[in-house]
Amino acid sequence: MPEIIDILNAIVLFANFVLVPAVSYGAQLALGALGITLVYGILRFSNFAHGDTMAFGTMMVILVTWGFQSLGISFGVLPTALLALPFGIVGAIALTLAFDKTVYKFYRAKKSAPVIFVIVSTGVMFMTNAIVRFIIGPGDQRFMDGTKFIFRPREFKEFTGLSEGLALKSTQVLTLTVALICVAALFYFLQKTRTGKAMRAFSDNKDLALLSGINPDRVVFITWIIVAALATTAGTLYGLDKSFKPFTYFMLLLPMFAAAIVGGIGSPIGAVVGGFVIAFSEVIVTYAYKKFFIYLLPESLEPTGLMQFLSTDYKFAVSFIILVVVLLIRPTGIFKGQSI
């Protein structure tokens, strides 16, 4: 029987390497997946340019952050990027609305098949990607400032007397707080306001919504604004937590799609739940449990290997496998999204 202290150590270890990172990554994915699910629900296509919209918004935030930093403006303990966020959102809104007007609107009027929308969205993806690389370059950018840690592993160890440390980065708390605010605001908007109700009606049954006098152009307009705001916020939080690199943002498309589909595409609550499902699965499956079991098991049973199900390089595979399993067992996702 392991001692209490060992159990506590194991729990702290697990929290430090699995729980805390997965929660913040899940919140970032959830915000991204919300954008995908809204576009799918209202505009009825899978938006492949979403990852690059995120990259574009984040790039704007970074540029404004650098501007603020050079002017000596800071946000105290919080990262300056939060001050720059509204500017980034405005930039991303301008981008999505410009593409909607020049590209998507034409195919909407023609009532093109969803597959055509997917193809043109890859064209938009190319162009956005090029703009981002052209302006900020393809390399890694870090733009985090302010306080890095709420508490460090060493401080935690000294405080509790345990041999395992727990780190809590301020970006992790920030991610969760901002994500909660965004999700709450979005749900309030969709459930309580007139425009939000119009959007839900439009998503449920387009013809009926049109019949009852809902202005489709306005619904589409509002949708792009929300999608751009969510994408920029998600991208900025991800960039603060890790780092910004255009290619990484493009690659985030896959887990975000997986999150949206697992939750039930078209369903906002599903996107949030899906985001956490994907994030937790990725981290749990790729974490090496060796030390965790050393704490819990008697010496004779201690594991010799790393006790890792999959190497970290297969993160994308995890989200994809979940995606396939969900598509096979329950194609509408956890929360009944639109049928496929």
Partner: protein
């Protein structure tokens, strides 16, 4: 102008323009460079034909082209590298046992799936089976991988291949891509088109992840270089008597005008230049044969009853279904066929590169660019797809110097030392992605059928 609009004249005209462009590069830049572009144009055209089989014939949105290309590339390594006997002796047994266990697991899973009613018991049994199999297989697999990867890691660290001429990999590449496509198709076809796109995009990323990390297979990110070639090496050619004789006779006029002392040196220069051109021409010949074979088969298939059925399914799935056509099965067939063609092209690509680099596989270059070729060339039209392959590859190569030249022009008036100027010049290569995206959007909008559109067939009774 009327001649331009006439669909019949479009294809010859388009290919004539393409030939002029390549000739222009040959005369303006250099002949080896023009031939290098031409060779990759030929490979691109084959890839584009593969995607056209899926999208143009059947309307399947496969965004996993990169994965099948990489599988073809893997085939080149597995066929042409010599087997690493030491690695086989330390880890071969474990690998074979793991492989047999994987097969047994899959057979068991299929048996369970077929013989139990859909219920939570079945799900539980399957989950249990997979988790159990994971631990059992890992017991044999992990030590074998460890042993293999430690056999002289700087040069080997993998099982090696079959030590056969690399040209056989073009066949194996097609077969491997077809096999994987069959599995993917079984899982994802029958879902909505968007889902096939997302699923294939995901699978291609997984294939690349496997190639990067399973070092025992093809050395992962350590790459396999110096692959076998189906054509002679330049250095060997330069010392081969018949080749030197050939060059001497070809350039006899120019050589005889020179004095004796200069002649040997000039001849040597000519031999070096000609050897590079000769090797490239050999590739051109081989690739052209493959392209022509694939193209003829594609045209024949498209005009056959099978092709008619495919187009019927593409244009109206429900009607075709009502006529008794098994839509899902036909989709699977066409998906496998198209992927096989892409796999062949992937093997050819690694053959001409002479090395296998998993990190080089980027979705923008290997998936979306091929899509661009099909859509701009003319989806549903085989000649269109071939032209798209030529044209877009040419643009992709030439867009870079063009964007740099453009930026030079834009920044000409700026201060030489200004930061903006150096940034603009440094970022110029990214413009080509922008151009590609713009070209795609413009084509979709104003010429949705592509440059050489599919012929609408009007049957008069």
């Amino acid at each position: 102008m009327n001649a331009l609009l006439n669909q019949k004249n479009r294809a010859p005209l388009a290919f004539a323009v393409m030939a002029l462009l390549l000739l222009g590069v040959g005369m303006g830049q250099s002949w080896p460079f023009a031939l290098a572009i031409l060779n990759l144009c030929l490979i691109s055209a084959i890839m584009s034909l593969g995607v056209n089989i899926q999208w143009g014939y059947a309307g399947l949105l496969n965004l996993g082209v990169m994965g099948f290309t990489a599988l073809g590339g893997l085939a080149a390594v597995l066929v042409s590298e010599a087997p690493v006997l030491e690695a086989w002796s330390v880890g071969g047994q474990g690998m074979v046992v793991s492989f047999i266990l994987v097969v047994i697991t899959i057979v068991l899973a299929i048996l369970v799936y077929r013989n139990m009613a859909a219920s939570w018991q079945r799900r539980l049994t399957l989950t249990g089976l997979f988790i159990g199999a994971y631990f059992v297989i890992n017991h044999f697999y992990a030590p074998a991988v460890y042993a293999i990867e430690n056999v002289d890691p700087a040069t080997y660290g993998f099982l090696g291949g079959m030590g056969m001429p690399v040209i056989f990999s073009w066949v194996l590449g097609g077969i491997m891509a077809a096999g994987v496509a069959w599995v993917i198709g079984k899982i994802t076809l029958g879902l909505r088109s968007d889902y096939l796109a997302i699923a294939t995009l995901g699978i291609s990323e997984i294939i690349i992840a496997v190639l990067k990390n399973e070092d025992w297979l093809a050395r992962g990110v350590k790459n396999v270089a110096g692959l076998d070639r189906p054509v002679p090496f330049e250095l060997n050619l330069q010392t081969t008597p018949w080749f030197i004789d050939l060059v001497t006779s070809l350039f006899s006029g120019r050589l005889s005008a020179l004095a004796d002392a200069q002649r040997t040196e000039a001849l040597q220069q000519l031999v070096i230049q000609s050897s590079s051109i000769f090797v490239k021409l050999c590739y051109t010949g081989l690739f052209t044969v493959v392209l022509v074979v694939v193209l003829l088969l594609s045209i024949k298939a498209l005009n056959s009853p099978w092709g008619r059925m495919m187009r019927a399914i593409r244009d109206n799935e429900e009607a075709a279904n009502a006529m008794g056509k098994n839509v899902v099965r036909q989709h699977l067939q066409v998906f496998v066929l198209g992927s096989a063609v892409v796999g062949i092209a992937g093997a050819m690509l690694v053959t001409i590169d002479g090395q296998f680099t998993p990190t080089a596989y980027q979705p923008l270059r290997f998936t979306f660019l091929v899509w661009l070729m099909v859509i701009i060339g003319g989806s549903g039209n085989n000649l269109g797809a071939v032209f798209g392959g030529f044209f877009i590859w040419f643009m992709w190569i030439e867009a870079e110097p063009l964007s740099i030249a453009f930026m030079d022009l834009v920044t000409a008036g700026m201060d030489q030392a200004s930061d903006l100027r150096s940034h603009l010049l440094k970022s110029a290569p990214h413009l080509r992605l922008f151009i590609m995206g713009l070209v795609l959007l413009l084509t979709m909008r104003f010429m949705p059928k592509g440059i050489i559109p599919e012929r609408t067939r009007l049957h008069t009774i």
